[in-house]
Every structure is written in structure tokens, then in C-alpha cells.
């Protein structure tokens, strides 16, 4: 095998998930009626925003060797806080600030703070107290959702002021602003992970924390940062979700966790830690929401959609798994 041929195969295998995405989009366009239209693609983009933003943080925590099962509930909490404070109907308190333009930065800051706070609580229990990340964040998944129910009394807040809603309504180049936000996040965090010492340390700590500890790297700082970023981005996802919903409900975001994990795994991140790159995760998110959208359009019997979705996601993960075998076979 020539080195050039090998390099080509390497490249394709490294970006297999993008290839899958393209193939899937073509297949759906050809087989699902009305799938092939600009609006549908814009929808896929937009719908993948929330899980996309969440999946970035999740991927970073996972690469660092931990796990965060609470991102979904964290997003719900930050959405509920946003709705509670700024929505004008339902349980919304409809807080107004001096100037309308202040609404976006202030509400965003609050949402990010809420998310980061949950991330730091998780971090504290895992890093300082030494509990297993799985159980800590599973408990957070429960109690943070419980907190959402508690602060909302199970009710919903509606009608965010237009000054905030603009984020959910505007489009740029025909693509919703929401989608651009997730693209922006992916670009920033991809650079952070691939080109800076921080990103390098996340990978190394995820691979062998004992080695990095001995090498004088402050493991704890990296792990703290991972949880904080996961929480913060979950907070961002929640803020965006509240804007899109124009308020918040007690069960907002339920089920996103599965999608976030599926995207992360489809995108090639190893749940064992130490392995993964963010651009693949974005492809994973897009792939997932293409499937969701196609299922919506196909009009399958409703009782079977959940099974079919589970099966298709498994198939997508499977392809990623086969990558390893292919590499062994081909190279």
C-alpha cells in the first residue's frame, strides 16, 4: 500500500462520521418525501443547537475521564430560572431592566452562572470528596430536576420579552441565529481542545491521571474546568431552550441526555476517557437530528417511533465502532 493511499484511508476513517452524515442526508433526501428542502435543513441545524451545545461540555468532561449525567437537568434549571425571572406570563416574574438591550446579557449571565454552579457542585463532590462521577451526576440528574419542579411548583413560565426572543427568531443567511451560536461554540471549543495546553491536558488526564499528576500537571484544575465547562454550556443550552420555547416548563429538555451521549459516542469520543475530538461530535449531533427529523417526516406508527429511534441510534454508534475494525483491516 502506498503511503498516499494509506493517508487517504486514514483521513476518511478519521472523518467517517461526516461521511455518514452526508450519506444519511442523501438517502433521506431521496427516500423521505419533502425531506429535501432548505427549511428542513435549517430545522435540523436549529434543533441540534441545544443538544449540540450541551454535547460539547459533555464531551470535554468525558475526555477528561469523568462523566456528567446532569447536563440535561442543568439545562432545564437554567431554562427555568430564565423563564421564571424574565417571562411575563405563567409563573414568570417578568423582571424588566432599565434598558431592553440589557436583557440578553443579564439573562445569559444568570443562566451561565446557574449552569456553572451545578457543574461546580458536581466537581466538588467528585474531585474534592472523591465520589464516583457517575453516581454524583446521576444524583444531580435527579435533584436538579427536582429543584426545577420545586422552584416552578410544576408550572410553566411563558412569553419571554421580544428583546430576548430575537435570538430565537432572527436568521442569518437564512439559517437561524440559534444554529450559528452552536457552530460558534463548536469552533471555539474545538480550537481550545486541539491547539492549547488545556486541551492537551484534558486528553492526558483522561488517559492516565497518575502520569499527569506525577508530571506536575494540576489534575484537579483540569477536572474542575471540565465540570465547570459542562455546567456552563448546559446553562447556555438551557438559556437557548428557554428562548426557543419562549419560557420554560418543569419537564423541559427531558430525554436530551440520551441524545447528547449518543452524539458524543457517534462523534468518536471514548467513554473511557482520553480519546475524542469535537468536530466529530458536531457531526454526531447533526446526524442524530437528521434521523429525528426524518422520523417526524415519515409518519411512522407512533407506537413504534421510540423503538425505531433507539435502533437507528444504535446503528449509528455501530458504524463508529466498526471504524476500528476497518482501520485494522485496511491499514
Amino acid at each position: 500500500m502506498t503511503p498516499r493511499r494509506r493517508a487517504l484511508i486514514e483521513f476518511i476513517l478519521d472523518n467517517l462520521v461526516w461521511l455518514m452524515l452526508i450519506v444519511v442526508l442523501i438517502v433521506f433526501s431521496l427516500t423521505v418525501p419533502r425531506f429535501f428542502q432548505f427549511g428542513i435543513f435549517a430545522n435540523i441545524f436549529e434543533q441540534s443547537t441545544f443538544v449540540g451545545v450541551m454535547a460539547i461540555g459533555l464531551a470535554i468532561v468525558i475526555i477528561s475521564g469523568n462523566l456528567d449525567l446532569s447536563v440535561e437537568s442543568t439545562a432545564a434549571l437554567s431554562a427555568m430560572v430564565t423563564g421564571l425571572l424574565f417571562a411575563t406570563q405563567g409563573i414568570g416574574m417578568g423582571i424588566t431592566l432599565g434598558a431592553d438591550w440589557l436583557l440578553i446579557p443579564v439573562s445569559l449571565a444568570i443562566a451561565l452562572l446557574v449552569g456553572t454552579a451545578i457543574g461546580l457542585i458536581n466537581g466538588f463532590l467528585v474531585i474534592r470528596v472523591g465520589m464516583s462521577a457517575f453516581i454524583v451526576t446521576l444524583a444531580s440528574f435527579i435533584w436538579v430536576r427536582g429543584l426545577v419542579v420545586a422552584i416552578s411548583g410544576g408550572r410553566s413560565a411563558q412569553s419571554l420579552p421580544p428583546a430576548i426572543r430575537v435570538i430565537g427568531i432572527e436568521t442569518v443567511l437564512g439559517i437561524p441565529l440559534l444554529a450559528w451560536i452552536s457552530v460558534g461554540c463548536f469552533v471555539v471549543f474545538s480550537v481550545l481542545m486541539a491547539r492549547t495546553p488545556f486541551g492537551r491536558y484534558v486528553i492526558l488526564v483522561g488517559g492516565n491521571p497518575n502520569a499527569t499528576f506525577r508530571a506536575g500537571i494540576n489534575n484537579d484544575r483540569i477536572l474542575w474546568a471540565g465540570f465547570a465547562i459542562a455546567g456552563c454550556l448546559a446553562g447556555l443550552a438551557g438559556w437557548l431552550l428557554a428562548i426557543r420555547t419562549s419560557g420554560a416548563t418543569a419537564n423541559l429538555g427531558t430525554g436530551m441526555l440520551f441524545n447528547a451521549f449518543a452524539a458524543v459516542v457517534i462523534g468518536g469520543v471514548s467513554l473511557k476517557g482520553g480519546i475524542g475530538r469535537l468536530p466529530g461530535v458536531y457531526a454526531g449531533v447533526l446526524l442524530l437530528y437528521s434521523i429525528h427529523t426524518a422520523i417526524n417526516l415519515m409518519g411512522l406508527p407512533a407506537h413504534f417511533t421510540q423503538m425505531i429511534l433507539g435502533g437507528l441510534v444504535l446503528a449509528a454508534v455501530l458504524l463508529d465502532t466498526l471504524k476500528l475494525r476497518l482501520r485494522e483491516r485496511l491499514l
Partner: protein, 272 residues
């Protein structure tokens, strides 16, 4: 030699793990520019001592003076900051990362772009390539993950990175265990060069030839205590081996009658 302030001075260092007393009071010192061979039987406590000096373990008792000041390192990072470089017996590499990332672990070459430190991969790769060539170790590609390397190749990465960071004291815990003949020869030469720069070196090995080839002084640890401390040109390998085993084991050949022994109590005895 203890008149001048030594680089490192250990004073009654002890460490126990639950019921097990791994170190029972170690007194020793290392001078600047001196190569000290730390010898001892398996389980004597050598690695435990190295970990204590390197900041990875806290002693249960005892004091440590380094570079003139009393020190109590809470983490390897602190020891490193003070100038102590360590090569551990159980390698500490991230097998999920490539050779370059492992070599530079924690000390990456970066350049600030818009205030953000950006990794300089090419510059780092060049440094690693040169270091490996000098050590006589061939590695197919510096971009392969360490998990794909042979035992000797791995050890070469760990052994050679310390030279680049200098420091004041270097701890080498069985650094040649997996190295080939030529690589070991170069490693020994490198230790002498490092010592010549005024750096203190503690090297652990089980091979007498290596100890005598490189060390100025030999310290033997037996069952957690210092059992000997001699200049290497004033002793012989046979005498050192006698110190290591304490003569207790040499009478216990595999052919002696052990049916009369209760194996459980025997290990108890041997520890006392």
C-alpha cells in the same frame, strides 16, 4: 562530606501502609554533583522512598531537607518546582497520547496568539527526535501513541525527558530495566554528564555492574532501614550483595527442607 550543606538530607524518614512498615527510619544524604546508587532487595522500600522525596507520598515520620531548607512536598508538582525530576519504576506515560505529547507532558512549547497559548507541535517534535536519536532509541514514528511502543521504547521516553529539564536532583527508579545494551550504556554516560553539571542523582538498580559503573556512593536499604552506606570504590559487588540480602537469604536455598515450616508464619518472621 557532611560538613558542606548536602543537596538532600533525609532524617528518620518512615512510612507505613496500615500494618506494613515499608520504611522504618531512613537517614541519608546526597550531595550536589554526586551519583548515589540506592540498592536493596525487592520490597526493601526503595520506590517508597523515591515517591516520598518526589512528593507523591507523605512520610509517616521524619524530616527532609532539600537545598538547605526543610521541605514537605504535598504533590509532585511542588517537588518539581523545587527542582526534583523523577523517573518512576512503574512508568507514568499516557498511552493514549503520542510520543511528543508524553515527552513534553506539562512543559509544552507554546506561542501566544491573541493572548492564548498555542501548542508548537513542530518545534516539540524536533526536540523529541533529537533526544531519542541521542539515546540510541529508534521509534517508528513520534506521532504513534505510546500504547503501540515496546517496553524499552517507553522507558526511553521517560528516561530521556528528565535530561531536558535539568533541575537540581534527579531520581531514577530502575531506569534501565527495559533498555537494550547500547541504550543502557548511553543512559549511564548521560547520568555522569548530568552529575558533571552539578546535579545530584539517585539511581536505583538491581544490577551491580550498573551501580558500580555509575555511582560515587552506594546506599543499601534492607527491610526499610539503611543497611550500608559506602563509597563505591571502597567496596565490592560481593560485599554489597551481602548487605542487600543481610546474609539471611543466602542460606535459604530452594532445596532446603520446608515441610516443617508453616508458610504463613514464615512470611511473618521474614518481615520482622
Amino acid at each position: 562530606m557532611t560538613d558542606a550543606q548536602p543537596l538532600l538530607k533525609l532524617d528518620g524518614i518512615a512510612r507505613n501502609f496500615g500494618a506494613i512498615e515499608a520504611l522504618r527510619g531512613i537517614d541519608m544524604h546526597v550531595d550536589r554533583g554526586e551519583v548515589l546508587a540506592l540498592l536493596g532487595d525487592n520490597g526493601a522500600g526503595k520506590s517508597t522512598l523515591v515517591k516520598i522525596i518526589a512528593g507523591g507520598l507523605r512520610p509517616s515520620a521524619g524530616r527532609m531537607l532539600f537545598d538547605g531548607a526543610p521541605r514537605d512536598f504535598a504533590t509532585p508538582a511542588e517537588a518539581k518546582a523545587a527542582g526534583i525530576e523523577t523517573v518512576y519504576q512503574d512508568l507514568s506515560l499516557c498511552t493514549n497520547a503520542d510520543v511528543v505529547a508524553n515527552f513534553f507532558m506539562g512543559r509544552e512549547i507554546t506561542r501566544r496568539v491573541l493572548g492564548i497559548p498555542i501548542l508548537q507541535e513542530r518545534a516539540m517534535e524536533a526536540v523529541v527526535a533529537q533526544a531519542m536519536a541521542e539515546a540510541g532509541t529508534t521509534i517508528p514514528s513520534l506521532r504513534t501513541n505510546v500504547e503501540n511502543l515496546s517496553g524499552g521504547q517507553r522507558q526511553a521516553i521517560e528516561l530521556n525527558r528528565f535530561v531536558h529539564w535539568g533541575g537540581k536532583l534527579v531520581l531514577l527508579d530502575e531506569p534501565f530495566a527495559a533498555l537494550g545494551v547500547e541504550q543502557t550504556r548511553r543512559g549511564l554516560a548521560m547520568i555522569r554528564q548530568v552529575a558533571a553539571r552539578g546535579i545530584g542523582v539517585i539511581v536505583i538498580t538491581h544490577i551491580m555492574a550498573q551501580a558500580f559503573a555509575v555511582a560515587d556512593r552506594i546506599v543499601v536499604i534492607r527491610q526499610g532501614r539503611v543497611a550500608g552506606d559506602v563509597k563505591s570504590n571502597q567496596t565490592t559487588p560481593e560485599a554489597v550483595i551481602e548487605m542487600i540480602t543481610g546474609g539471611t537469604l543466602s542460606g535459604a536455598g530452594p532445596d532446603r527442607d520446608r515441610d516443617t515450616h508453616d508458610p504463613a508464619s514464615e512470611t511473618e518472621e521474614a518481615r520482622q
